[in-house]
């Protein structure tokens, strides 16, 4: 009986907001779960003033900063509270997908970037917010990142830019005065550090994470924007001599990596760098707050990926992070609150809060990164190329590094063998391109 009543009320609520109705309607055709949305909150709580939203994310290390963001939001909208729940990133997808599949889960969740986002859209696991969320102040690249087939599916809250972070004091100790700008200079700097008894570079190969970022950074410095587009279209091969040279270059750096880098997972590589055991590491803007938390006095510096040679440009890789989406299984009485939150994220106020707390680069026009000069430096990158997993053809490059990464450093095999594995994954993706390819 009670179910039925909820159902009827829900219909009325639905009609109140046309944009929302479109989303729910779409979802209900696809998942039986959302055909009969059921409330988990008792009926009597509906009329209370305050609405509680739940949010799931994949950065347990940023739990407190996210809580601070939600506190800022609550200050602006006292009638809405957002509860944060974090899961380690290797289990996040297991958890969110299972929940979305049966129409349970949180009200708001962190949506992966395209092309993975397509799966979520196709599955009806996101509410269409085209008509209800105002992205007019958001920069174009971020708008594109949440738009599929002309519809908006999430609210972008920040970007991260990947380059190389270093400890200024360790550079000084080794007598390094200039930030390197080319591969050759970079190698010289690492040699200088090594001679001074400092481990130059922290890297993680166990889960393929940082070797992968190293690869796309160096490869991007060879390719440039045009070259990258050619890789995506299949005109340029990762097995070309200049691309094989990237794998070789990484091999040449092996003496500069920390001992046992092959067995080092991401978190440990980070810990080594954070505690000053190594001088440099791949580094994105979102990593900074973690480093300062471990060592508040850390003297961090940042430079772009060095250029292959003087004819090329230095480069950074940028990806979208923390896109807030709405779960179609949300209780309708909370829908307005969720929409309010997504709108707030896309305002200067929300963007500033995300930037201040999470150290992501803002994606709202006119909002400058504050607090850390490194963030400004990141924004001013001479050449910025997307992280490769945000493009369909190169989606699985990371998988190759994760499952086959040791062979990249195996000196018994020529480097072009590994390059061939990378290209094979691109070829496979190109052969299996989805019907609706995201704008790239």
């Amino acid at each position: 009986m009670e179910d039925q009543r909820n159902h009827r009320i829900s219909r009325r609520h639905l009609l109140e907001s046309a944009g929302v109705a479109a989303g729910i309607g779409l979802a209900s055709q696809i998942t039986p779960a959302s055909a009969a949305p059921q409330s988990t909150t008792p009926f009597f709580q509906r009329n209370q003033e305050s609405t509680k939203l739940t949010f799931w994310g994949q950065f347990p290390e940023l739990l407190d900063p996210f809580k601070a963001v939600m506190a800022d939001f609550n200050a602006a909208h006292p009638e809405i509270e957002v509860e944060v729940e974090m899961t380690t990133n290797d289990q996040y997808k297991t958890k969110i997908q299972s929940a979305l599949n049966v129409g349970s889960g949180p009200d708001l969740y962190m949506v992966p970037a395209q092309p993975e986002m397509n799966n979520y859209v196709n599955a009806g696991a996101l509410v269409d917010v085209t008509d209800s969320v105002d992205l007019s102040q958001v920069i174009d690249v971020a708008k594109d990142a949440v738009t599929i087939d002309g519809k908006v599916w999430a609210s972008p809250s920040g970007r991260y830019t990947v380059g190389i972070c270093y400890h200024r004091n360790l550079f000084e100790e080794a007598g390094v005065t200039e930030e390197p700008t080319t591969w050759e200079e970079f190698r010289a700097v690492m040699q200088q550090l090594l001679d001074a008894g400092i481990t130059p570079y922290s890297i993680a190969a166990k889960d393929g994470s940082l070797t992968y970022f190293n690869y796309i950074g160096l490869a991007s410095s060879v390719l440039g924007t045009e070259g990258f587009e050619q890789v995506l279209s299949g005109e340029k091969k990762l097995t070309d001599p200049d691309m094989v040279a990237v794998v070789q270059e990484m091999r040449d750096w092996v003496p500069f990596y920390q001992q046992n880098f092959l067995g080092t997972p991401y978190a440990e590589a980070k810990a080594l760098f954070a505690t000053g055991k190594t001088a440099m590491m791949d580094c994105g803007s979102a990593d900074l707050s973690g480093y300062y938390e471990i060592d508040p006095d850390a003297q961090l510096g940042f430079f772009y990926w060095p250029a292959a040679d003087a004819d090329h440009s230095q480069v950074t890789n940028t990806g979208m992070s923390v896109m807030y989406g709405i779960n179609p299984a949300i209780d309708e009485s909370k829908m307005n609150a969720a929409i309010t939150f997504l709108n707030w994220v896309a305002t200067p106020e929300g963007a500033q809060s995300m930037n201040r707390n999470i150290k992501l680069l803002p994606v709202v026009e006119g909002v400058e990164p504050e607090g850390d000069p490194i963030l400004t430096e990141m924004v001013n990158s001479p050449l910025d190329i997307p992280v490769w997993y945000e493009r369909w053809p190169t989606l699985n490059i990371g998988t190759v590094w994760t499952t086959d990464g040791n062979s990249a450093f195996d000196t018994d095999t020529p480097p072009d063998e590994f390059a061939a594995k990378l290209q094979a994954s691109v070829d496979e993706q190109l052969a299996n391109a989805p019907v609706a390819t995201p704008a790239s």
């Binding site: 179910d3 696809i30 998942t31 039986p32 779960a33 055909a35 009969a36 059921q38 990133n89 290797d90 289990q91 996040y92 997808k93 297991t94 997908q97 979305l100 599949n101 049966v102 992966p112 970037a113 092309p115 993975e116 799966n119 979520y120 196709n122 599955a123 009806g124 696991a125 190969a205 166990k206 889960d207 393929g208 994470s209 992968y212 920390q258 001992q259 046992n260 880098f261 092959l262 067995g263 080092t264 997972p265 991401y266 440990e268 810990a271 080594l272 055991k277 997993y389 989606l395 699985n396 490059i397 990371g398 998988t399 590094w401 994760t402 499952t403 086959d404 990464g405 040791n406 062979s407």
Partner: protein, 360 residues
């Protein structure tokens, strides 16, 4: 009419009614399960209510003549509802090309299955499971059995030894993960500094990234966690061997080995059977330790891959910060193949080992 019926003739009627009620209960349960699977909560609850009611009548009727039905009933129902039915329901997914999100619509029949049979990662993983089982089988009989024999002599401290050796069995997956990271981990690991302290710095290795060694370490860690079980069961088996049997064999002039071979070991046959089969099942389902030491990708380079990891990886991707793909349909198909394999393999083992028990 019914009142006039003599007592003796009512019994068959009663049986027939019980049978009807039993079938009705089973049908109602099935309907309730199907409704649940389609998320039709209200009807599922109603049907479940009807099921409980009919079952109550059914049990009341059968109890006087067949009380065992009432004893078994609750366990069978709960087990069927929440273990067997979900496994059956999952089978449907294996017939679809399905990422794991949203509805499964792309029906491909046996497509996933034929792909599995050709999939080298599945074959390699299966071979790793075989190796893992053989390794543990050898370790538990070459080390576990002698330990059990030693403990059976009730030597001083035998209870302490037994308890200590069993302790790793009760350590959780999450704790195991952390514990072995601080031993084998390349940066915070304690094994490498220990080797330096022992004067053998050249023995240091990148333990978790060695295409040869890492999988062998998985054997050892698996043995660490598992060996308490065979020790304890062998011990119980030994305690059921009557002492006078051994004594009389020795008086007959047998040496220790002959006594062991001729008297003790045959008596251990039931223990050997149960240990071999449970180890087989455990090692073919092994997930925790390979996941902890090798990660979902079976690092390094797939050398630590096992069946459960393949299933997990296909279902939920590699996790982590770089993107990856997932195919729930394929994963479920792999799970079904693994289940079928286990059923056949375990049945064959059980038959062979039981026959051997009798022969000895």
């Amino acid at each position: 009419m019914a009142i006039a019926m003599p007592q003796a003739e009512r019994a068959p009627n009663r049986d027939r009614l019980a049978l009807v009620l039993g079938i009705a209960a089973a049908v109602l349960l099935l309907i309730a399960l199907l409704l649940m699977n389609r998320l039709e909560s209200r009807y599922a609850f109603l049907t479940l209510g009807a099921f409980v009611l009919v079952s109550a009548f059914f049990l009341t009727l059968t109890y006087p003549k067949r009380p065992y039905i009432a004893f078994i009933f609750p366990a069978v129902v709960i087990y069927t509802m929440f273990v067997i039915f979900p496994a059956g329901a999952a089978f449907r997914y294996s017939l679809y090309n399905w990422t794991g999100l949203g509805p499964a619509t792309d029906f491909i029949g046996a497509g996933n299955y034929s792909e599995i049979l050709r999939d080298p990662q599945f074959r390699d993983a299966l071979w790793n499971n075989v190796q893992l089982f053989l390794a543990i089988f050898v370790i538990q009989n070459a080390i576990g059995l002698p330990i059990a024999l030693a403990l059976d002599t009730k030597l001083r401290g035998h209870e302490f030894y037994r308890s200590a050796l069993f302790l790793p069995v009760i350590v959780s997956l999450v704790a195991t993960a952390y514990i072995w990271q601080i031993i084998l981990g390349p940066n915070i690991g304690m094994l490498n500094p220990l080797l330096v302290d022992l004067g053998h710095p050249e023995w240091q290795r990148d333990w978790l990234a060695d295409t040869f060694l890492t999988f062998k370490l998985i054997w050892i860690v698996q043995a660490w966690q598992h060996i308490g079980v065979p020790i304890v069961i062998y011990l119980a088996g030994l305690q059921s061997v009557p002492t006078d049997l051994k004594d009389s064999a020795r008086v007959d002039g047998g040496n220790s080995w002959q006594v062991f071979r001729g008297v003790t070991f045959p008596m251990l046959a039931p223990a050997f059977t149960i240990i071999t089969i449970t180890t087989f099942i455990a090692m073919f389902r092994a997930f925790d330790i390979p996941y902890v030491l090798g990660g979902p990708g079976g690092a390094p380079d797939g050398t630590t891959d096992v069946l459960s990891l393949v299933i997990y990886r296909e279902a939920f991707g590699l996790g982590g910060i770089v993107g990856s793909q997932y195919r729930q349909g394929y994963a479920v198909a792999a799970g079904v193949v693994m289940f079928a394999f286990l059923i056949v393999a375990v049945s064959i083992q059980a038959i062979i080992l039981r026959r051997r028990e009798v022969a000895m």
